[in-house]
Assembly symmetry: C2
Homo-oligomer: 464 residues x 2
């Protein structure tokens, strides 16, 4: 990453202007700036940023952006730093703009089924505050206990429930955005329909901090589901069998709230981690919800059994949680095996068996294991590359692992899929962006970026 | 509308180039060019366009755009011409690019619940072809029997079922787009998740022909609903009572597939048109679908009765159709009263009673009636301004009607709403665009438009 602060303004001058305008919201404490060098990908930037500014208001954000513009200093907007693609990692010469303290739920409308929130509110905190109103913000990234709504929006976060309830884009009505030059803009509506002009709300969603700073959001809510959910856990001999069963469940028209597929080496790792008997094979874990939860579970169970799966069904919350614990143990089980590169491709769901086959080929070619789970309802796979991170390069991903990952991305693209279903491009997937978008579209996307950010100060080096 | 063809290229030369490249796809027949001067708004352009080119392929579209770019000739892309905002109206010096002959369903995937279509396919034709597969494209603009999917996408069409099933944006995965200079681009994915780069698919949806020509779409489908739908028809003394009842139904967490509110003067007009006894008051017509259709209808009926509504429920398709015939008669009933300006504001649904009150005030102030129906589940109102269109200006909307409409738009904006819920800005709402977007956002939107269309040849004079 190159330092783009012009020579005429020193880093110290930028810092002085920030402190002058924002006082103790500006931190240069080594812990703070060190924390901002990394995210949950484990990747660490080359050097610490200038400072971390913890904005308490839209005014604060505008003040930072005005200073950044006048001094041409790069700004990395950051929520909780839970990204997996290096999208909120900051390096030398950059200002980190944290929205984590702007964490209030400003308004709930039961009648309009919407909430107005500040960007720093944690997804799970929002849902805790919505629960007494009988409402629910459906996007549920696995990070929901620790990630912010602003970050969820900036990456168009997915999650486990998306096949039934949609991704973040489907749950955002409007956004307040501070532009690179400090101007505040309001995109979108409070209404569920609205076609006045271009859809800049959608353009912002998933833009990973490259177009503006999200300082507020009007989000669409759903009624909380009533009644207990049903959980199904099914064992199949092979991941191919499990993936085909998942496809049949979807084709049947049944709509489980979640359908998680756990590959063979993933199950082996989880079994070892949980010290459970490892019976081999692959597993499909599903949940149905709403008034028809029990009858849908029964219908799905019949399909699974007819396809050779061994299926357990539970209507009891505690028992359901026990069945689901296997899926929850995936990440800790992988972390116990070594340093992990968590990947995130998405293919048309009919191509899940083919994608698992492609992963098997790559495992053989590179002589590695790539334990994989998938959100089978929407074809989104998380292949986990495990490597020894205790070497001289620390958590940096070795070249052969990136080579294997590169083949995996190409396989996903060949199957009609995409590089990233829900984690974003960030820093770590930039080199494959052109493979998916092509030269012409990449150029067009860069031009849009330049329009929003003519000085190139918004999260430079990310995505594009 | 100004003619932007540069003096160095005459209209005849443009026509000669078109005929040379596209042969009999180019028509200058007076019927064809006259038809393209208008749409379902009734507005007619000042003069006929140069020609109507009926593209049969993406190559044809690219050929037109290359000629248009090299000669700097404006292009108006047109589907079935069913718009209500003048978005596809063409005038002197313009090429009309019709996609109506590119009307094939290219692919259906049951497993991936998607279809790939050409832009000119009629919404209802697509659904007829999908039905044997047990699938369904949910966006249902009232024009679905006559409007194209390309047009639905270009306007982000809504409809009656959106509160439950979403607007067009939620049903489009990817788009093939021919740019102003003739290049073909592919935006979006075949996957239900995907966050590689900026969401240019969403940017195209609702852009009304100003950014590019949609030449193909990958659309998301749903399983056809099984079982009979239930229809409810309820009479209330006042539109305020009916609007409040609609809000209570939504607040209850029940989710009718459609919920149509018919205002008092609209009911009077419909009663006269259908020669039914006019009992006064307002009406709410609802439909529930899916396995819970009957029980949901029962629950809604109880709510309506408790709020003073007189409610009929039908589980028989024929009887349901009879109840729904009242809503279907709205447009013919209005057309029988005079020339109609069909408006399209959207407010947060809790503001429906306030918006009906505002309409009442405007009726009094201007001494007119504004019969109104609303998609009550999403706060989208269609106030109908009736005027005498037999005067010297034909179907042109008189100044006082536009003044009343202007007040109506301002009222919608004051209530947190938008100028247009589903019809688009087109030609007829441009003058209010700034009121909703503000100067800064309007400028940004125009800059995006310029990026896609540096010569300003794509549907000039529309939206911006």
């Amino acid at each position: 990453m190159t330092v783009t602060t012009p020579a005429r303004v020193t880093t110290l001058e930028v810092l002085a202007q920030l402190v002058d305008a924002l006082g103790d919201a500006v931190s240069t404490a080594s812990d703070d700036v060190a924390f901002a060098r990394s995210d949950k990908s484990g990747h660490v930037s080359e050097a610490p940023p200038i400072a971390v500014v913890t904005a308490r208001s839209i005014d604060d954000v505008q003040a930072v952006m005005r200073i950044a513009t006048s001094t041409e200093t790069p700004v990395v907007t950051r929520g909780a730093g839970t990204g997996l693609a290096g999208g909120a990692i900051a390096s030398a010469g950059e200002i980190v703009l944290s929205t984590l303290a702007m964490n209030r739920l400003l308004e709930v409308s039961i009648d309009d089924e919407l909430a107005v929130v500040q960007p720093g509110i944690i997804n799970a905190d929002l849902n805790r505050q919505l629960e007494p109103h009988g409402l629910w913000f459906t996007p549920d990234p696995a990070s929901r206990a620790i990630s912010t709504i602003g970050g969820n929006i900036a990456t168009n976060a997915g999650g486990l429930l998306c096949a039934k309830y949609g991704v973040t884009r489907e749950s955002v009505l409007g956004l307040s955005v501070v532009m690179a030059d400090g101007r505040l803009m309001e995109f979108g509506h409070r209404t569920v329909k609205g076609v006045t002009g271009l859809d800049l709300t959608a353009l912002m969603i998933g833009s990973e901090g490259t177009l503006g700073v999200i300082v507020g959001a009007t989000v669409k809510l759903r009624r909380l589901m009533t009644g207990a959910a049903a959980v199904l856990s099914a064992r199949f001999d092979t991941v191919d069998d499990a993936a085909r069963a998942a496809a049949v469940v979807t084709s049947s028209g049944l709509r489980p709230a979640l359908m998680e597929l756990i590959g063979e080496s993933a199950m082996a790792g989880i079994s070892a981690h949980l010290r459970m008997e490892h019976t081999g094979g692959s597993r499909l874990i599903l949940q149905t919800d709403g008034p028809g939860a029990a009858s849908e579970a029964e219908a799905i169970s019949a399909i699974i059994t007819s396809l050779g799966g061994e299926c357990e069904v539970s209507l009891e919350p505690e028992e359901g949680e026990r069945l689901f614990a296997i899926r929850r143990a995936f990440h800790p089980a992988m972390a116990a095996l070594g340093t992990v590169l968590i990947e995130d491709v998405c293919v048309p769901r009919s191509q899940l068996p083919a994608m698992f086959a492609a992963i098997g080929e790559i495992e053989k070619k590179y002589d590695i294991i790539i334990p994989t789970v998938a959100h089978a309802g929407d074809g989104n796979l998380h292949p986990n590359f495990i490597f020894d991170g205790d070497g001289p390069d620390g958590a940096d991903v070795p070249a052969d692992i990136w080579a294997a990952a590169g083949e995996l991305f190409q396989a996903a693209l060949r199957l009609g899929g995409t590089l990233t279903g829900e984690h974003g491009v960030g820093l770590l997937k930039r080199r494959w962006l052109r493979d998916e978008l092509g030269d012409d579209q990449l150029q067009l996307q860069r031009q849009i970026k330049e329009l929003f950010d003519p000085l190139g100060i918004l999260n430079p080096g990310k995505v594009f």
